[in-house]
Each structure stands twice: as C-alpha cells, then as structure tokens.
Symmetry: D2
Subunit: 304 residues, 4 copies
C-alpha cells in the first residue's frame, strides 16, 4: 500500500471508533469547538501532501506552538538555552511543582508549561517586541503571511489561566523568570492562541524533518544538530504524562495541544498533522493518538 491508501484506510477505521475523549473545558473558548471535527494531513519534503476529513478547518494549535517558540529561542541563544531549562521528561503533572522547587526553578523540559513559560521569558528578553517578532517568525516558517493570533482564545486563557499565573510567579520567586510575570504570561497566552489547519501545520513542521532547513528555499531555520535535538525532545517530552506511551505505540517525534491537534514527523521523510478535539485523560487527542498508532503500525514508518 502507498501512503495515501494507508491514510485513507486508517482514517476510516479510526473514524469508526467510539470517541471516548472529552473536549477541554478549562479554557471556555476552546469548549465551543465542534467535537466531531476530524482531519489529517501529511506533507513530504517536496512539499506535496495528502489530506482527508476536516484537514482544511483551522483550530487552536495551543501547545504545539511551543515547538516554534523553542526553535526561535534556540536559534537566538544556542546551547546557552539549556542553562534555563532542562531536557528531561517530567515524570508526572503531579510532581511538577515539587521538581521545580528541587531544581531551583529550572523546568524539566521546554514543552511542559513551566518550561514553555521560561522560553517565553527568554524571547521577551531578547526580542524588541516578542509578540510581533514571534508571529513574523511563524508566518515565515509556515508560508502564511496572514497568520494571526486569536484574541478571543488568548483573552479567554488570560481570564482563566490561574495555574499558569501560579507557575510563572513561582518560577519568578525561584529566580528563573527575568521579566515581569504579567508581560511574560501575556506573550505566552498569545503564542498558544495561534490557529492553523492540518495542512498548514504539517507544512510548518517540515523544517524539522529536513535537518533544520525550510523545504521551500533550503534556508536554515536552525542547524542540523539543533533540529535533531528538538526532535529528540519531542520524542521524550512531547506528550505530557503520555510521552513514553507515544514513543512506545507510535514511535515518532511529535507534539500535541489541548485544542486536539497532534503533529508528528519521520526524519528525512514526512510530517503529519491530525486533529480531533476530544482529549483522552492525559490531555492528548483521543482519535489523534489512535490514528497515529494505526498509521505507523501499517506504514512501518517509525524511527524504531
């Protein structure tokens, strides 16, 4: 079977499953999404792709944006960045605050919320206007000159993101936030409010399957070793408490968001984005996880 056939078969099989997931409700705006949406899109390194279902409907990419902010900060700071955030899996949500305290405010990795907030702090420090320059960066990566933040989503998070306010102030008290917590959080919530569809998202991630180079013009986003290291981080830390499970069952570097999106990639080969809003108990798209598990089982496309 070629990859189109595999995608079609697995898409239909997965669609037929009972969706046991639940839509995220802690951000009121996210709760308004249509739970039956289900889309998938694959893009290879020549830029060709293939999609199915609601692959052209935009959704809130949420934590998936953390890969873009890490990329930009890594490009600016180089290996110095790891003095501010570690590269280890986080154990459980449960002990995350305990680990922060033990580790003097150094988050376990850049993909848990605490780590992503520290990355935002770095960008606020190094960019004249983080909100604007980060958007320009992602617009360029994704070839989407009109991409923009969703103020509705960002405002909804700002009004309800007590846990993130707590995290940012806690890290500030431990010395690892350099700017005003409110400014850092504003940028953090903006960053998470980006909206893309599956086609756009899979395209935007191609630089990580292509050794750090944009596939459109081979310009360097980040170096090849940096690109590999971000992939390694996605594999070990990209899915919260379920990162081991994803490596185990899917076997690809990837990143999920509470909007129900997941993007994964096979180095030197392709990227794939899948979207279905209802989440499993670990906060990852229920159908998205099932789809990718079946997809890699049938396609033999895994790094292991």
């Amino acid at each position: 079977m070629n990859y189109k056939d595999i995608i079609e078969k697995v898409f239909h099989d997965t669609k037929g499953l009972t969706n046991k997931g639940k839509i995220a409700t802690y951000i009121p705006e996210l709760a308004n999404v249509n739970p039956t949406m289900f889309g998938v899109h694959m893009t290879n390194l020549t830029g060709e792709g293939y999609g199915m279902g609601n692959n052209l409907v935009k959704f809130s990419i949420q934590s998936i944006a953390k890969v873009f902010s890490l990329t930009l900060a890594y490009r600016i700071l180089g290996e110095e960045i790891w003095k501010r955030v570690d590269v280890e899996p986080s154990g459980t949500k449960f002990d995350s605050l305990l680990l922060l305290e033990i580790n003097n405010g150094i988050p376990r990795n850049p993909f848990i919320n605490s780590g992503a907030i520290v990355i935002c702090d770095i960008l606020v420090s190094h960019l004249g206007n983080a909100r604007k320059e980060f958007l320009a960066f992602v617009r360029d990566l994704s070839n989407l000159p009109n991409l923009s933040y969703s103020d509705k989503i960002a405002d909804s998070e700002k009004a309800n993101g007590y846990r993130n306010v707590a995290l940012c102030n806690f890290i500030k008290s431990l010395g690892n936030i350099k700017n005003d917590p409110t400014e850092v959080l504003d940028f953090y919530f903006d960053m998470c409010s980006l909206e893309m569809n599956c086609e756009q998202l899979s395209y935007a991630f191609t630089y990580l399957a292509n050794g750090g180079l944009k596939i459109s013009d081979s310009s360097e986003v980040i170096t090849k070793p940096q690109s590999k290291r971000i992939n390694a981080l996605m594999l070990t830390c990209g899915f919260y408490d379920e990162s081991g499970e994803f490596a185990f069952k899917v076997g690809l570097p990837g990143k999920s968001g509470v909007g129900g999106g997941i993007v994964a990639l096979y180095p030197h080969s392709y990227t794939i984005a899948v979207w279905s809003p209802p989440l499993n108990p670990n906060g990852n798209s229920f159908l998205g996880m099932k789809f990718l598990e079946e997809f890699t089982t049938h396609s033999d496309f895994t790094i292991f």
Copy 2:
C-alpha cells in the same frame, strides 16, 4: 570516513579526555575493577564487528541485563505485561518512591529498579526455575553456551542491597509482587551479575536492531512490534535521570549499567557496546557517554 575510522578517531579523542567519573562503590565487589579499562565494539547485522581497547575484557553488565529479562517476560506475557509495569520515563530518582505509592505499586517503567524487580517477579511466577531458564535464554541470544552468573558479584549485592530490599518489600506491600520478596530479590541480584565483554554484548543486542530476529538464524526472539517497543523504552527510559540527555545528545536507543557498560543500537543497522567503569553523577559511564555523543555526531547515525 567509514565507521572503523570514526570509531578509531572518536576512541582516541575520548581516551584523551580527563575522566571525571567515579567508580560505583555501593557494591563492594564492583569497586575492585580497574578504572582505566576502556573498550568499544560495534556489530552490524551480518555479525561482523570492529572493536578497540579493552573490548575483550569481561565486566559486570548489571542493569543492561534488564533488557534481556524484559525481553523474556514480554515474550511470555505479551501485552499483558503492561498491567504490571508502565512505559513512562520516571522523572527523578528522588520521587520514585512517591510515584510508586501514587501509582499503587506499578513502577513507571521496566528499566528502573522497581520495574526490573517486578519483571523478575513475573519470571519467577512463570518459569519453573527462573535463575536457570533466564541464563539459558541469554546464552542462546548471545551464542555463549558457557555464560554464567558471577556469584561473587551477586553475593556482594545481596549483602548490601538494602535499597532494593526496601523497594521489593514496598511494592509487595502495595500488592504488585506475587512471590516471596527474598526469592524475587535473589533472582534479581543473579540477573544483574552477568558478565560479558563489549564484543559479546554488542552481539547479544543484535536482535533488537534486527526486528526481533536473531541474526545467526533469523529465529524470532520477539515479534517485530515488540522489538520496536523495547527500543522505544530504551530511548525514553534507558538512562535513569539522564534518559532525555542521552536521547538529546546521542539519539539512539540504549541501556547503561553501573558496571560502566553502555549498549546502544541503530535499528536496521548496528549495535555498539562501550565500557569504562567510572560513572558520572547520574550513574552512567562518563567516558561511555562522551564516546557515544561524539560517535553519533561524526557518523550521522542517529534516529533523529
């Protein structure tokens, strides 16, 4: 450069580094090893290999044996095994007992001590004579009919392994050890006392680079999906608190032991074993980690 040239160059470069590691002393017998030993051996899927330094000197493989015991238990129980042990990275040593209590005695993964002890309990339950049958299994895997346990090492651990006695009894109190703790621990200490050299170790791991099949006769040790999953587990959990770092810097599935050995593999291609007794603060071979980092940087042989 071909792989022999790379190994030679990296071996010499690494040998020249100041070894900041320290020999493990908590097992008295392990402290007697010569700290200047340094060997490396690579084996490809045709069984050909190339080694340097003390690659033919035997050492205590310790926790590396946990991959063999997991393989045997997985072969016996299939996916049922994951009811007894999880597949997630463990966070830190620090919170391991806390996590065990929260998770009702289900260890985070089969490579931390608690998980490996549960695997031993499974083998004790399902084998008539776990000590004997496990040895036969590894002898077959490694083509070493005379391979044997080191009673000196095992006895030294039995006399000093208070932490493991604590772990096993703690899990027993939480209901996830079915046999007598003393019997389980005796087998656990035996299992960890196996001795191999780098050549033998890299050969013994070839089934995991070969889709679960022995390279000598293509007989199935475990299924291909099982083989991938063990590789995924090695990548996310094979190096204690430093698993993320290893994925990040080396980018290969692997497993380390406190005897100073590390084995890593590149699926469909090769396995490599390296040995140098002094350990870094995370309990992994100081020079071994450096060697593999340089080796994958120069060779471009990483899964990312």
Copy 3:
C-alpha cells in the same frame, strides 16, 4: 524567683548570646530594620505587665496577624471554616505545594501562607470592606484606636511577593479561592503589614489566654472552645517547620512572624511577646526562640 526576676535574668542571658540569625531580606523594607533591637513584654490577665529592652519599639508583626484574621473568620463562619482549611501540621515548606495539590487546594492549616490566604479570601467574601473592618477588629482587640497598616511594608511585599501570588493563583486553580486573586492578595499583604510593639502585642493576645474574652470588659471575642482550638493550632502549627521543636523546647501555644516577633501564651495565666529581627534558618527569631526556651525552663510555665 518571681516572673520579673526570671524575665530579667533570661533577657540578660539571651542578650549575651551570639546572634546567629539573619534578617529577612525577601521583603526589601523589612531589611531596613535595626538588627540589634531586642524587646520582651509579658502581660497577665489583670492587664498588668512587665517589659524590658526595646519593648516599646514598633515592628512589623507579619504572620502573627494570621491569628487575628483566623479569629475574625472563625467568629463569622464558626466550624464551617474547616471545610476551607485543615488543622494539621504542614510537614515541610518543601512539600507544601505537593500537599495542596493532593488535598485539592485545602491548605493544611490556617497559619501557613496558603491557609492564611484562604482565610483572607473568606474575609473578603463576608465583609463589606475587609481591609477596613479587619483593622477595626484588631484596634478593638488591642485597645489601639490609632493602629494602622504600614503602606510602605505592604507595598514592598506586593512588589516582591511572587511566591504568594503563585500560591493564591494555584489555590484558585484548585477551586478554593472564591474572589479575584489580586483583591485577596492585596488584603493579605495589608494584614501582614500591621505594626505593634511587644507591650501592645502581648496585650492584644490576652483574649486567647482568657477563654476568648477580652480582659478589659469580659466581652466575648470568640467562644471558649474556639479559643482553645486556636491555642491548639498555634501549638501544632504556629512555627512553620519548627512547630514541633517549639512545642518540644518551649511548650506553649505561640506564633512567629518574619519581622522577628514571637508571641506565646500560657492559658489562664499570661501572654508574652518577644522581638529580635534576625531569624534562624526556619524563619523564626533566633533570640526570640532562645529567650522563650530559657524562660519556660526557668519558670516552669509550660502546658506540659
């Protein structure tokens, strides 16, 4: 020896000790205090007292005010209050966030910061103007119609209290803060900024040695059982990580503040306030602890 002689002797003995404490610096304004200040004042239930040293110099009572806010909230809510905060010692600072998460936002007791913040939330909910009415309450208790908040101290804390901002928002995210975190914290910082001298402080606490009645006019502040229960809480939880040590060495209910003040009381008999700014590693006045330990050893005035 009568109590005046004991106070004099112990005051001089303690004054002669090398003060190994350090002034609190996390609130910049507190760091400006004169570290050599040392005062003590005892008040009995007829209102007579005896003081020495800098007993008439005002200082920031800080966490000691938590006893007043608890008293007011307890008077308003009665036993219902314990649905919002527990009555158990907190273990260590170290695990306080972990315990909050496990306990769904119910702080371990009303004297750790998280608990005192929840008490402030209760007062904000039940009073028209918490800031004003709480001040009126303490003015009445202490017979000090001109007592006021220190805006300088409160502002200094507001500008630097990241840890408390984190705590309040964390509890909000767990559902146990009902008002806007900023409003609750403003009141919390005001409450902690009250300034009294040793004479005033020991007088203000007499109701707790007098079964809940003001000694001036026998009017009821709280009921007798409530008064006993606050005393029990001070004994088990009044000194952060050192509560057991204080019960063990001093043997009286008491409460300390990072301003270097400590107040303690012997039911049916007397109250005593001591002040010396440098703190021991547990955040309690170094000399204050020494003074009270010696005082109860010589006077035989302990509840045990």
Copy 4:
C-alpha cells in the same frame, strides 16, 4: 459533675453512636478481635482510678508501646537521641518516604513507624538483650511482673509487615540503621505485640503525668524536662495524620495504636486509656476519639 459522672455519661453517649470505624486487617491476628469491645479507665496520681465497660480486657497496644521504647532510649542516650530522629510532625503518610529521602534517613519523629524503628535500632545497639530488657522496663513501669509479648501477634506481623521491612531497609540504605535490619525488625514487632487492658495502660502512663516519676515510689523514670518533651511529642505527633485534629478537638497529649487503644494524659493530674477496635480512616479508634473529644469538652480538662 465529678469525673466519675462525666466518664459514665460520656461512655454511654459514645456507646450509642453508630461505629463507622473498621477493624485493622493488615495484621491477620488483629482482625480476630471482637469489634464491640469498648472500655475506658482513668487513673489519677494517687493511683486511684475508675473504669467502665471492657476496661479489664487485654488488647494489643501496638504503637502505644512506642512511648515506652522512646522513654527507655531517651533515658539511655539523653539529648543525643535527637541526632537520630527529629521532633516534627510528619505531614502525611503519603510523603513520609519522600521526607525520609530528603532528610537523609532521619525520621520526622519517634512515633511514626520509621522513627520507632530507629528507636528500636538504638535499643538493640545499647542493650545486651533488647527484647528482654525492654520487657523488664515496661513490667517495672506498669507494675506488671507477668506482662509478656504476644508471639501470635508478633509472628503475624513478621509474616506480613512488608511495609515495615521496606522502611527499615530504606533507612539502612540511608545510613541511619546501625544493626542488621532483620534483628531490628524482630524487636520492633515484639515491642508492638505487648498486651494490656485499659486499667493497666492508664496506670503505666502515670509517670508522664507525674513529671517523669513513678507514682508508686517516686523513683525517676526520666527527668522532668524529658517527661515534658515526650508529652509535647505526643501532642504534636501522637496520632499520625490526625495529630492536629486530636490537639484541636481533645487537647491532650496522647498516643494511639491500631489495636484500637488510645491513652491520653493531663499533666499533674490524670491519665486515661480507652479501647474500641474499629478504626477511623486515619487509623485511630473511631469511638476512642469520640469519647475523648466529649470527655474533654465536658470536663474542661484540656491543656489549652
């Protein structure tokens, strides 16, 4: 009302309550006790007493014996003892292993299991025959020359006490157990197997209400300051996770055991023992707690 009337009234009131407690079952032998047993006995400092119900039926005193072992070890080592065990409340069962690891094997206090095991280790180190000499000590304290260990109870615990085996070996691995763990645990289980009735138990504790002196002949068991300090420890740490609650509701130093016994004391005045086997969720006698709460409410006999 005099104390006899109060005891009678409260005994009858409490007996009428629905007993929501559950018998401890983790020690099989303890599960065989008659759950309707309910006895109480008070003893004053002249040795006179008054009892009701099953006050003359023996039961397993379990953890209450930890007060005797602490007394003996404190008498031997003096204040040196606190280098091996701390005097702070433990927080929760939940974090006890975490705290042990953070505190390098120093248990939070001598009344949690880890602390009592360290006390046993001290006695094994300092006594020729800990089992024999400890028994002689308690026989003397309690004026019961025929008091003996229950081998049936001790054996039942030895066969099932995996959690305690884990604790002892864990502390051994952290360096705070000096003897062989098996020897220490054997003594620990023997110690907990002592059987007394309420009359005997209340009599045996009179030295702690009497400044450390036996009431029969005024001989010194421990010094007066030591006696006060043990009382303080019972108040802050005597009831596991419910110590604060007991201080709060009962307001007396006391100690409970999983056999359903509780002993409490009012310094300079009396001791009281109560027994009812079913336990509340915190492991303390359900009716015993209710009885003491009512008793101190009616009698005004509390230290606060």
